[in-house]
Symmetry: C2
Subunit: 276 residues, 2 copies
């Protein structure tokens, strides 16, 4: 048992979808979330810079006292998980890529898996590699969807227009004629960006019910639960865990933009400005 | 007369719409364009950092020899024009904000002007300020359109879906009932982002023919022509000016993504990798 909070970090507010899933999976845990909004996006930066930023962000959480580190950011998960494990050898570190890859390999019957993500995540190839490590015969298609992040940030998460945009990306893979469909249609879609769970139901409307949608936020929360349980680090039971936030830029902007991702209003009193 | 090239810089490929307009306005001039793609976007960075990057980018152009500096980037134009004028006192410096503001003030009959731009440009308030300096009674609305940059970068520049997205932003201002329209409808739209000229005809379809659309790339090119003429710096006449490119990141990616903005294929042989 360990009463310290779980620490999560992301370059911004996208990782709050992981926090939301964590709150649902482990409602008794305390959580401390750091959004490095002053330096977002990480996706356009070099691996060395991303590793340096990730170690600084994780270091701030460790300084405050956390029992586990969750990298709630695809870019940082892709390049910084091993440097973080070396930098903080006493604390378990979980990223979002491996749980998403594992869940998609379990869900897929045909091995035809599509990863939806930002251009930099797809170019970085981490999901594709993680899936192939588990299932070498899988046919993995990495599909960059650059409009999805601004859609989620605008709060445009459903309706005809949004589904039209999603269909424009997915139709080449899913709207093939029935014969071709049987042979080539993917059966599993991985939401490989922390912003994308906001679009999950619109994506469901586009691909239909026969396709598995793997939300890497949910699967990461399950992985955190498994690791805390195995290592005996669960919170001694309490009414309801607390959630606190650190941000490196404007506090009220963080609270305002973050609320949609968390699915709950964020009280500015729970957000603290920090310098990294 | 001066046979040196005109130097332009931007954080990426968006400024190529300014270069395109310049090529049409001044076909005999040689042009050297620098895209600081390794460090894009500038919009999320602090003013101090943007000024430092702009001075470095301009310094590289000056080192190569240019007779004029064009800041083909809204973010850098907003904060760095005066520092650049101080850093390079012997070279005329033109940004995109003031020409766009001037043209919109000239075009508008009613003084009701809408600036379409990225969120950081609207927050920075430079267009609104520049318009009010010229026309203090103007009613200026800054409208952030975060989906327009990824739309332009995806090459999604027309059709029902694209017009639907544009309408979702503009309808609250333009689709009011006819009575209200007479009183409040803006008569001028400023494209306050170098990416947006790619969407100009789709925007025209949404707002209709009664509205002036001011393209700050075109108006900047006109301003460059005026300044070169006034200062006697025009190219001694030649067949057709040359265009060369510098970029701080992947050369072939620059050529590939830039072509849509320039409206012409970019030969990788004309692109050189530089370090700032």
């Amino acid at each position: 048992m360990n009463s310290l909070p779980i620490g999560l970090f992301d370059s911004g507010v996208g990782g709050l979808t992981v926090l939301k899933a964590l709150r649902q999976t482990l409602p008794c845990e305390d959580v401390l979330y750091l959004g490095d909004t002053a330096r977002l996006p990480y996706g356009t930066k070099s691996p060395d810079t991303i590793i340096r930023y990730a170690v600084q962000a994780a270091g701030k959480l460790v300084e405050r006292g956390v029992k586990m580190l969750v990298i709630a950011c695809n870019t940082a998960s892709s390049v910084a998980i091993e440097p973080l494990q070396r930098a903080f050898p006493d604390i378990p570190v979980v990223g979002v890529v491996k749980p998403g890859a594992t869940a998609s390999c379990r869900a897929s019957e045909t091995g035809r898996i599509v990863v939806l993500a930002t251009e930099s995540t797809i170019r970085g190839n981490a999901y594709q590699r993680a899936i192939h490590d588990l299932r070498p015969e899988a046919q993995v298609t990495g599909l960059p969807c650059p409009l999805f992040v601004p859609l989620a940030e605008e709060g445009w998460t459903g309706g005809e227009l949004v589904e039209g945009i999603i269909a424009r990306y997915l139709d080449p893979l899913f709207a093939s004629p029935l014969d071709a469909a049987a042979a080539n249609r993917p059966d599993t879609v991985v939401l490989g960006c922390t912003h994308f769970p906001l679009l999950a139901s619109a994506i469901r409307n586009v691909v239909g019910n026969g396709v598995h949608i793997v939300d890497s936020a949910e699967t990461t929360a399950m992985e955190v639960k498994t690791m805390l349980t195995e290592q005996g680090l669960l919170q001694p039971e309490q009414q309801c865990g607390s959630t606190r936030f650190l941000t490196t830029d404007d506090v009220s902007r963080f609270a305002r933009t973050g609320s949609a991702f968390l699915g709950l209003a964020i009280d500015v009193e729970t957000v603290e400005l920090v310098d990294l």
